[in-house]
């Protein structure tokens, strides 16, 4: 309620900034950072529904991202169909997986749930690494040159930028709608206390699974967008643990369980990550681990609520009350 009214003008500013970014920074290097940022923001916002609002910290969301990423390129490889045919298929498989995974793992709480999700994602990664139909360890490739617009294979990053931005806007709009509905209240209640929630008639298990389905569907879309844009996917870039950890870190950095938290987190992490990778060159991926580790330490030590909480603490109460009223 507070974040909503206070964030109103800020959101408009942000939207204007995002819309005009490619115009201001038309250089391909900066455009690529923008596209990477949007993709990270979509994944983290999708994770946020179940990991942030409902407080069920999944560290295995790469399972949905990977499925979403493989589906388009698999259809292209097998039947030469336009990759985007794979998007709904990826969603369907991810949703099915969410139900199958959700029923047993949601009986676990806290760390046990997180560990179970890591285990499942790793199993799928290893399985894809040996499965010949999906290219085993080598992975899959998309169309090298576009046969038409429907292949969504563009030379410039510009079309991707606006497609991704539209998906992000749609996801945030849905999340905003969820936040205001009974479903959203139930999610926050579950995070605050399962026992008390149940005593008030909140169908905890069912609500968690619904949240995971919503989250899985959008994470899958993020994966599809990634592989369609990159034209390549392998077990590590689809199902690797870094994919999952990145979603968690971005959401936690910005503020898990807030509408714009993941977006703010991506706004900080992605430029930072790109910069460190550029400065230190080749040893990039190892450095990513170090960066993530450092961020985890800083968040855990100084501000478990993320940047949004920091805002709560820094901005004087009186000043905020004006918005809250």
């Amino acid at each position: 309620m507070k974040s909503l009214t206070a964030a109103g003008p800020a959101a408009l500013l942000l939207a204007a900034g995002l819309l005009s970014y490619p115009v201001v920074f038309s250089d391909p290097y900066y455009l690529d950072i923008g596209v990477t940022f949007l993709l990270a923001a979509i994944s983290a916002s999708a994770w946020n529904v179940v990991g942030g609002y409902a407080g069920q910290v999944s560290v295995g969301h790469s399972m949905f991202f990977g499925i979403g990423a493989y589906a388009p390129l698999l259809f292209y490889t097998l039947f030469k169909w336009p990759p985007m045919v794979g998007i709904p298929v990826g969603i369907a498989v991810s949703v099915a997986l969410a139900v199958v995974i959700g029923v047993p793992t949601f009986r676990l709480t806290g760390h046990y749930f997180s560990m179970a999700t890591i285990a499942v994602a790793e199993l799928i990664r290893i399985f894809f690494g040996t499965w010949n139909l999906v290219g085993a360890a080598i992975g899959l490739q998309g169309p090298a040159t576009a046969r038409g617009w429907w292949d969504l294979t563009f030379r410039s990053e510009l079309p991707y930028y606006y497609i991704f931005l539209a998906v992000l806007a749609l996801l945030l709009y849905f999340t905003f709608a969820v936040e205001r509905r009974r479903f959203g209240y139930y999610l926050r209640a579950i995070k605050a206390g399962e026992r008390a929630s149940r005593s008030l008639g909140v169908p905890v298990q069912q609500t968690k699974i619904k949240a995971l389905i919503f989250s899985a569907a959008f994470t899958s879309v993020a994966g599809s967008l990634y592989s369609i844009k990159t034209g390549f996917i392998d077990p590590e870039s689809g199902f690797g643990i870094l994919v999952s950890v990145q979603m968690v870190i971005i959401a936690a950095l910005g503020g898990a369980g807030t509408l714009f938290g993941p977006l703010v987190g991506a706004l900080i992490l992605i430029p930072l990550q790109t910069a460190t990778n550029t400065w230190f060159g080749g040893g990039g991926s190892g450095l990513t681990y170090i960066l993530y580790g450092g961020i985890i330490v800083v968040i855990a030590r100084f501000e478990p609520g993320g940047v949004f909480e920091l805002w709560d603490r820094i901005v004087p109460r009186r000043w905020r009350r004006k918005y809250a009223a």
């Binding site: 309620m1 205001r180 509905r181 009974r182 209240y185 139930y186 926050r188 209640a189 995070k191 605050a192 206390g193 026992r195 008390a196 929630s197 149940r198 005593s199 008030l200 008639g201 909140v202 169908p203 905890v204 809250a324």
Partner: protein, 245 residues
Amino acid sequence: MLLEAQAVTKAFDSFRAVSDADIAVEEGEIVGLIGPNGAGKSTFFNCLAGDMVPTAGRIAFAGEDVTRASPEAHARIGVGRTFQVPATFEDMSVLDNVMVGAYLRHPHRNDAREHARRIIELTGLKGQMDQWARSLGTPGRKRLEIARVLATSPRLMLLDESLAGLTPTELQEAIALVRTIHEMGVTIVIVEHIMEVIMTLTKRVLVFNQGHVIASGKPEDVVKDEAVIEAYLGRGQHIRRERRQ
């Protein structure tokens, strides 16, 4: 009979926290559950609320067997409960806390909010409506718990020491609140240590000791019961008298 529990037993390994306990509550009653610490009141309470499945025995609510029903099913059929240690949703506002309860019978946001506002006004939390639950003190939290349950429109409310830890003035206000809720037609079962609450609110009490119901009846009679004095009240009254002197 609104609530009827027969021969309820709850054992943890070899320890029987509740042993062969019965309770029968008519619609419109206020029934007290008393007994020394560790007597099994809360365990029995948790069985009645669906939070624990009894090892043996049968519990029926409004003629329906609810022995194995989940806590959320209990809430749906009209059994609401508070917790001994308030379990308010700390990072949500008072209004949002109550709205979670209100959503049970009012699926739409505006209806739920309107209902929650009415309940908040009734429970005297109007001034704190937009505060975080975590900013409330103990009395506020206990009130919020009651408000949240009340928002689910229960037929039966199980209050687990909801009036403990209050100052004399707060206690009087809380007793008045329980009365108001009762007058709204809600049947109440109340676990309480404070005899003043039991004496003023209830017409019938059950006394627990070591997992057994050792006495039941009018509070003024139970207080005179030898077994009860022996088990619990004797010592309590004795200390009370000492304090007054």
